[in-house]
């Protein structure tokens, strides 16, 4: 199987050595990602030098290889050079004729008319800082956005995951590279994950991020730096790392992030077609900046480790804002409208596990008044109910993690209510694709014009 062409006008593709994820002689399934390499795009002679596609992702851009048919893989020697030669892209040119491996198909298996060939995938990570370099594997590194796509064609459905850590494994899978989600998709998929480390993506902060001007972001940044100094506490490296990543995250507009997709036939621009949110990202207590009025939420275990000046700044500069289920619902409705205004056609909310293996309450007498404001499991059920009502009233789909976890066994597969097993992640992944299919999302994925390269 030769690598095959990547046809880009005005750009040449360079690559690193090929890193194999399977052993020579291993049986591989059709579509299984078995290898990857880092790539770089360089202007061909005569092309004007200027901004290249992929912007901030240009250093963590990769191509994955998967056989189009099942069989035993016989890896050609010499394609992996080891060391930095397998990590840095500028040592070899992409050669369409280069044979990377041979595929031995079991006798009696019908190959059809098509000879086995490589299915290419794309992967890109945007680093939190250029210092966060880690090219040790597939999409490794500290990225504030990671994504992967089918590079064989255009017309992708772009799905953005904006949840807390519970969505990380569903989208990125066991190998970190989105392979399971892409392989399970019934049509070309572009999967994007933005994590919650630097800022939890809750509805109110997402709406505000979308609405802020560059001048607003400058004011937030200036206030943050002044605020840290004004605490009078010596600023430590951990304070600055937290502040820098938070500042960058606050200034992003995840719903309207334009990205590039590299395929065999060119580079295409893409926006976001569908977004998957998590009700776990909607906290009962947000922080509101007293002077500038913006809202933010960071997981407490992250602010605890952030550094003393950040902790003091959070205490001094922010005030808590308490949100009940109705407040969360209102914020989600506003977010739905905001998302629609930037072309996002599908929104899905992952609901919450609403029972706990850690409680055995059978008597609600000690909880006079509104149970939902006192008991965590009741609150989760009420919130899930609100999500269902939202779904009925404003075109939001529900990813019913509560029901799916119960079906596969929440004790074994969701022991703390948030972190799932492989089985549960597989089931949730299937359900996301099923919901998108039911909504016709794959039928209406837009055609994407090629970027002039």
């Amino acid at each position: 199987m030769a690598l095959g062409p990547i046809a880009l006008d005005g750009l040449a593709v360079q690559r690193s050595g090929i890193r194999w994820l399977v052993m020579d002689g291993c049986y591989c399934a059709a579509g299984q990602v078995v290898a990857y390499c880092n790539i770089g795009l360089v202007p061909k002679p005569g092309r004007p030098r200027g901004a290249l596609p992929f912007g901030e992702e240009v250093r963590d851009l990769q191509i994955t290889l998967a056989p189009s048919q099942a069989g035993v893989l016989h890896i050609r020697s010499g394609l992996s050079k080891g060391g930095y030669l397998d990590q840095l892209h500028f040592y070899q040119n992409w050669d369409a004729e280069e044979i990377a491996a041979e595929l031995e198909i079991a006798s009696g298996m019908d190959c059809g008319n098509a000879a086995p060939h490589w299915l290419l995938g794309g992967a890109a990570g945007r680093r939190v800082t250029e210092l966060a370099e880690d090219r040790s594997g597939l999409l490794t590194g500290w990225h504030n956005r990671a994504r992967a796509w089918d590079a064989e064609c255009s017309g992708h459905l772009s799905v953005l995951s904006l949840g807390i850590c519970e969505q990380n494994g569903i989208f990125r899978g066991e190998m970190n590279g989105f392979a399971e989600l892409l392989a399970a998709s019934p049509a070309p998929l572009h999967a994007i994950h933005i994590g919650d480390e630097a800022l939890v993506p809750c509805s109110r902060t997402l709406v505000e991020q979308q609405s802020r001007s560059d001048a607003d972001n400058d004011r937030i940044a200036e206030d943050m730096m002044r605020g840290l100094i004004d605490t009078g506490i010596p600023v430590r490296p951990s304070d600055l790392l937290f502040a820098g990543s938070a500042m960058a995250a606050l200034a992003r507009r995840p719903l309207a992030d334009g990205v590039d997709l590299l395929t065999r036939n060119g580079i295409y621009a893409s926006g976001v077609d569908a977004v998957v949110l998590s009700i776990h990202a909607e906290p009962g207590r947000l922080l509101r900046h007293k002077r500038l009025g913006y809202h933010a939420f960071w997981h407490e275990f992250r602010t605890f480790d952030a550094g003393p000046a950040v902790r003091e700044w959070l205490q001094l500069a922010f005030e808590p804002v308490y949100r009940g289920p109705e407040d969360k619902a209102r914020d989600l409705v506003v977010l739905r409208e905001k998302a629609a205004s930037v072309g996002i056609r599908h929104m899905m909310i992952m609901n919450a596990m609403s029972s706990s293996g850690h409680e055995d309450i059978v008597n609600y007498r000690p909880f006079p008044g509104n149970l939902g404001s006192q008991i965590a499991s009741i609150s989760a059920k009420e919130t899930n109910l609100l999500v269902d009502e939202l779904a009925a009233s404003c075109d939001i789909a529900v990813l019913d993690a509560d029901a799916i976890a119960a079906a596969v066994g929440s004790g074994a597969n969701l022991p703390d209510g948030v972190h799932q097993s492989r089985l549960l992640q597989h089931e949730l992944r299937k359900e996301i694709l099923h919901i998108l299919s039911e909504r016709g999302a794959f039928n209406s994925a837009p055609g994407q014009p090629a970027i002039a390269t």
């Binding site: 807390i164 850590c165 009962g284 207590r285 997981h299 407490e300 275990f301 605890f304 808590p320 308490y322 706990s356 850690h358 409680e359 055995d360 309450i361 059978v362 008597n363 609600y364 007498r365 000690p366 909880f367 404001s373 006192q374 008991i375 965590a376 499991s377 609150s379 703390d416 209510g417 948030v418």
Partner: protein, 118 residues
């Protein structure tokens, strides 16, 4: 009959909990369902642990009893197995000595009272 409540391992990995609120007064006669104590379990307090490390629980009685003595104070962090409260089935029987049994309780996961936590 002397009764006692000792901190159970509500979450399998926990080794300690912080007392957030005492929900009854010593000497009170408590009915079934009465609240006894509210606890914060922070799994990151003794081992590096990512989200969600903190959860909150209320202990309520599953049998009527007299609260005789709290052996903890608000804000104190206590290990699993430590006696938190002594109770009895009559209001004035003497405490001490052997023979106390565990009081029957239920555990409820609760939404924290942020004012108490701050």
């Amino acid at each position: 009959m002397q009764l006692e409540f000792e901190l159970p391992a509500i979450v399998p990995q926990m080794v300690e909990a912080k007392v957030l609120q005492l929900l009854a007064k010593e000497g009170d006669g408590l009915a079934i369902g009465a609240g006894l104590v509210e606890l914060e379990v922070d799994l990151s307090s003794y081992v590096i642990h990512d989200c969600p490390p903190i959860s909150y629980f209320r202990i309520v009685l599953r049998e009527a009893a007299w609260l005789r003595r709290f052996a903890v104070t608000v804000g104190e962090t206590v290990p699993v197995g430590r006696i938190i409260a002594q109770l009895s089935t009559t209001p004035d029987e003497s405490l001490g000595g052997d023979g106390a049994r565990r009081v029957r309780v239920n555990v409820a996961g609760v939404i924290p009272n942020w004012d108490v936590i701050r």
